[in-house]
Amino acid sequence: MSWRVRTLAADAILNMTANGARSFIVFAAMAVVFGGLAFLELRQADDLLSFESDYRAAGGYVAIVAQQGGISAARCEQLNAVPGVVAAGGDRGKGQATFTMAPGVLYQQYGVTRDLPRVWDPAYVPAAPQNAATFLSGRALADELALRPGLLLARVGGPPARLTGVLDVNQRAPQAGRSLLEVIPPSGMVDECWVEFTPEAYPGGADMLAAAFATGDNDPTVRPFTAQDQFTRNPSKELASRPQRNGWIAGAALIVGVLLLTAWFRRADLGLYLALGTPRSLLTLMLAIETWLLALAAWAVGVLWALAIQRASGNALTWGGIHLAAVTSACAALSVVIVGPLLSSLVARGNIAALLKDR
């Protein structure tokens, strides 16, 4: 960097401190806008994000495909490679079983393909590669018989089952809570294919599934896992339509307007720098340095202020909310530091002599 760039950058900072009142007004306007955006996000996001995670846990983005005569297990498992699919797997009933440790009590048995456990229990992490003859138990069955992974379960009139995991299926497949699940290879037919989508992919998911399993004369039925009336709100829609999601653009535009106004009031100063031989690019850099410093400080102060208010009003702070608050206000701050100096420097375009005249 040449001396000239360095000394003029320092001069920009001297101008900023010498014009303390003007700098403070710009800083305060920025802090109010950036902090206000952060505050709106915090206030709304905590509610929305926890609702979103409840909604997801309850299977809000899960769809179930069934078909007359059963559904291809292989085609169901192949859905795991489709973008937007979180997990997909099929199940079929395998009758009932009795265990030697609880004689006379009948328990349901299901065959499940490799990835169905991840749909039924999103928190489930497979302990080992799941090959055939791997058994899982629902939480209710495990509690009832004091089962734990590693145990060999003797079945009356059948081969013993080596238990590798316990699934929490309360939310998504409560009927399987008192069941033994056997991981089956993806061949033959299953009764249903369960598919969990990402929130973005879910709205188009039903059509995709109908197309994937269409056979011409025997069309599949696709139904959402959650009942129509289970949720009256949709968190994805609410997150997407919250005003500050795009409202930061208005906030940024407001600050750019303030920057333009201050540039207009100081056009004689800008003209003086130009008349004395400052290249326009360097003048823009000087404006940018001022804007960068003020915006960085205002962003930090604004976000901290929003966090403090949220905290003081007795609300919990979550990382999700802090993240949204920081990102939305940073979007505003970044557009201000990019657009502000470029537009401000336009105030000094054209006839330098005319700029000097209007003091």
Binding site: A18, L276, G277, T278, R280, A353
Partner: protein, 224 residues
């Protein structure tokens, strides 16, 4: 550097395409070390002539030559030439109002690429030469008109340009101060620096080597 000279050949200027010619076929040449007074009624085109000579605006027609070489009518190279070869004293004293007199006097040198320490040293010497050394740490907005105009003269002198352009530098000052300020500019100019000064004051013009009359956009040489 060869001996400095600044020349206009057949320069014409209109502020808008359909507007009147503010300058018509102006041809003149200014040599190193000269002091030139521009006199003429208000609206005759003195300021326009100075801003064209000082490369602040491009004329609508004609040629500008610096040291015998023709200059382009725009472009980023002009900023460097402005910084290295020209100094300005404007009609309404133009300074950064909230910066000190010393910082204002150093500004031309900073823009040219001098270090801050070097620029301040030269600026302090120039403030001393024009008699306002004691005001160095005052903010520009706290100075009287005459004091501020001296600071602006110091800004031009400190940078040791080839040409100092002064547009009615004493237009806002009383008569006694006018002569003092003019003397501060003319006597302290560095060796080789030419001064071109627009003025209404015949007494100021008499202190210059040459007098050019500007009438309705035409120039003619006159006896000082």
């Amino acid at each position: 550097m060869s001996i400095a000279s600044l020349a206009l050949r057949d320069v014409t200027h209109r502020y808008s395409e359909s507007g009147p010619a503010v300058l018509s076929d102006v041809t003149l040449r200014i040599e190193a070390s000269e002091t030139v007074a521009l006199m003429g009624p208000s609206g005759s085109g003195k300021t326009t002539l100075l801003t064209i000579l000082g490369l602040l605006i491009a004329p609508s027609g004609g040629v500008i030559e610096l040291d015998g070489a023709r200059l382009p009518h725009g472009g980023s190279s002009l900023a460097r030439i402005r910084a290295e070869r020209f100094g300005w004293v404007f009609q309404t004293a133009n300074a950064l109002p909230r910066r000190t007199a010393l910082d204002n006097a150093a500004l031309g040198l900073l823009v040219r690429g001098e270090t801050r320490a070097g620029a301040r040293e030269a600026a302090a010497a120039a403030l001393d030469a024009v008699g306002v050394a004691g005001l160095a740490q005052k903010e520009a907005r706290q100075l009287s008109g005459g004091e501020l105009q001296r600071v602006c003269i110091a800004r031009a002198l400190a940078a040791r340009p080839s040409f100092i352009l002064a547009d009615e530098p004493t237009g806002q000052l009383d008569h006694a101060t006018t002569l003092d300020v003019t003397a501060a500019l003319l006597r302290n100019r560095p060796e080789g620096t030419a001064v071109i000064l627009a003025t209404h004051d015949a007494e100021v013009a008499r202190q210059c080597d040459r007098l050019i009359r500007v009438i309705d956009g035409h120039v003619e040489e006159a006896a000082p």
